[in-house]
């Protein structure tokens, strides 16, 4: 689905992504883990066209998409969410979702004035779809709330909902679980699995919660210092010496050790 070839992203002299190569299999839910500062978000930003790479190539289904602007990638079905949830703060939750589908009749200045009927029908359809998405995410009661007033977790759900407004092919989720309570996290995990099974979305998920990763992700890719360290199931990753080294001093090492000893 997505292939990354020897990607570099330098900030001045600092190599945030330093020769990363990886393949995302179509239809997978791939987990991306690694210590803070490993370059995971930067990798997402380069793939999604937010940052130009210093060197390297990204292809999607064989087509070179390196350096395409985000809105062009969006129309190819490549979507991402942000580590810190973003929203259109002056709009309601429903309006936030309705912003998403591209190519609406109302986009033409000309149609805006002359084809009110067509636009109204189309907007009614999109609103219906947005309500379905909100029901799916169990936040339909928030439809008319200003997006700025949502909790952190609810904003993450809204981000996920945004990807459901179109037929995405691949969705990059950056720390979906950060600052989200257990119940909401389970809702998100369910939503990801259902979207993967029912609508064939491929997911790449950055997350620090290993239970969450273990529950929905296969394979898991581990990054550190801008490079890909290892790829495999979560158990294989946890047992990998280099990964343990990278997480040195963090809980995963102890956890991996106790599990290895057991």
């Amino acid at each position: 689905m997505i292939e990354v070839h020897d990607l570099h992203k330098h900030f001045g002299g600092f190599h945030a992504v330093d020769g990363a190569s990886l393949r995302i299999a179509p239809g997978s839910i791939t987990g991306l883990i690694g210590p803070n500062g490993a370059g995971k978000s930067t990798l997402f930003n380069v793939i999604a066209g937010v940052l130009p790479p210093t060197s390297g190539r990204v292809t999607m289904a064989g087509e070179d998409i390196t350096g395409l602007p985000p809105h062009a990638l969006f129309h190819k079905g490549l979507l991402r969410t942000f580590q810190i949830a973003h929203e259109f703060h002056s709009m309601t939750v429903l309006e936030n979702l309705m912003m998403v589908p591209g190519g609406q009749a109302g986009e033409s200045l000309w149609t805006t004035w002359v084809a009110r009927g067509r636009i109204r029908r189309e907007e009614a359809e999109i609103a219906a779809r947005a309500h379905e998405v909100l029901e799916f995410l169990t936040i339909d009661h928030l439809a008319d709330e200003k997006a700025a007033n949502l909790s952190g977790g609810q904003k993450k759900l809204l981000e996920l909902g945004r990807t459901m407004m179109v037929d995405a092919k691949i969705v990059f989720l950056d720390e979906v679980g950060a600052g989200v309570n257990r119940t909401l996290l389970n809702t998100i995990a369910d939503a990801i699995q259902r979207l993967n099974a029912e609508r064939g979305y491929t997911f790449v998920v950055i997350e620090h919660d290993m239970d969450f990763i273990g529950r929905i992700c296969d394979p898991v890719i581990c990054m550190a210092e801008g490079k890909v360290l290892a790829e495999g199931t979560l158990d294989e990753i946890k047992a990998d010496e280099r990964v343990i080294e990278a997480y040195l001093g963090t809980g995963l090492k102890n956890k991996a050790k106790t599990e290895a000893e057991a």
């Binding site: 985000p70 259109f88 703060h89 002056s90 912003m99 591209g102």
Partner: protein, 336 residues
């Protein structure tokens, strides 16, 4: 004591002129605030954009007058507005193409764009003076008054007269129509919502498939229309002189900042706040007080806080105070 006469004098010298001036400032500030919200810089060329658009209207008006076209009691300039807007739009779009787009692609800091806009301002300024000259141009025709002071006195038998000029009435009506269309557009149409989305959160807008160049294009079109309408209304109400439009930059920015940069509602509120402050502080209150106070207390002086020559100081002081105590403005725009 004569309450009615005081009220009429107050309306004639304060309320009516301030409402007209406030509408003009509001339209100007709307343009500034849209550029700030979407292109993210303070456009110092806005005053001269207004001058250029108005020049387009004046030239088209003269041409129409030459053909013998007239709107009767209304100024021919109203008919020339679309032509002026088109000329102004062509200029700002060309500027965006050759100047701003380059800097956008570099993702330069807003302060650099501000300086670039100053350069653009000098170019526009020179262009306008080159075409129409630096002097005063009068282009208003049609009837001068909706109600003249004389008619009003004859009608009511009051001592004070109330004059409403055609240009003042037209200013208010046009401003209401333009603002209504603008708000409908921003809040109800897909393109308008894309603009708000882009202003709310540029990164998310891009990742939601919104094409930034389209948003920018539509923004410039709207700004050209607002600037031309604002400039023409001001020119009809006062007179057209390129330098005056450069001077208007201060009260216009003060309006946009008082209301909160990036907030359209704020720009309108700000326009009226600045206009009313300027007019009330530079008005000689002797007449109104004379009607209200018993004869023994009647003031000897003019009771004018500030000479009209210093009217720009009013905007300046309000601007400084707002920046000191509430930099986001009344309607919580983006902090400057």
């Amino acid at each position: 004591m004569d309450f009615l006469n005081a009220l009429v004098a107050l309306s004639n010298f304060v309320i009516v002129p301030a409402v007209a001036y406030g509408s003009q400032l509001a339209l100007g500030a709307l343009g500034v605030t849209l550029i700030y919200g979407i292109l993210r810089f303070s456009n110092f060329a806005h005053g001269d954009t207004m001058a250029f658009g108005t020049m387009g209207v004046i030239l088209a008006t003269w041409w129409l007058q030459g053909l013998g076209v007239s709107l009767g009691p209304l100024p021919t300039a109203l008919l020339a507005l679309p032509a002026g807007i088109a000329i102004c739009a062509a200029l700002v779009l060309a500027t965006d193409r050759v100047v701003y787009r380059f800097y956008r692609a570099q993702r330069v800091k807003p302060v650099i764009l501000v300086i670039v806009s100053m350069g653009v301002m000098f170019v526009y300024n020179g262009l306008t003076r080159f075409v129409i000259g630096p002097g005063d141009q009068s282009f208003g025709d049609g009837s001068r008054f909706v109600i003249s002071a004389l008619d009003f006195r004859a009608m009511t038998g009051l001592q004070e007269g109330l004059a409403i000029r055609t240009s003042q009435a037209i200013t208010l009506v046009t401003a209401i129509v333009v603002v209504a269309i603008l708000f409908w557009f921003l809040n109800r149409t897909r393109t308008g919502k894309s603009m708000r989305a882009y202003s709310d959160n540029e990164d998310l807008a891009l990742l939601s498939g919104i094409n930034p160049e389209r948003v920018v294009l539509v923004t410039w079109l709207i700004v050209a229309a607002l600037a031309t309408v604002a400039g023409t209304l001001y020119g009809l109400d006062k007179s057209f002189k390129p330098f005056t439009y450069f001077q208007l930059l201060l009260p216009i920015f003060a309006s946009a900042i008082v209301g909160g940069l990036g907030s359209p509602v704020g720009a309108i509120a700000g326009g009226f706040i600045i206009a009313f402050s300027e007019v009330t502080i530079t008005y000689a209150w002797k007449k109104v007080l004379g009607h209200l106070l018993p004869e023994s207390l009647e003031p000897d002086g003019l009771v004018q806080l500030l000479a009209v020559d210093y009217k720009f100081a009013v905007s300046f002081v309000i601007l400084v105070v707002v920046l000191l105590i509430r930099p986001t403005g009344l309607f919580r725009g983006k902090a400057v």
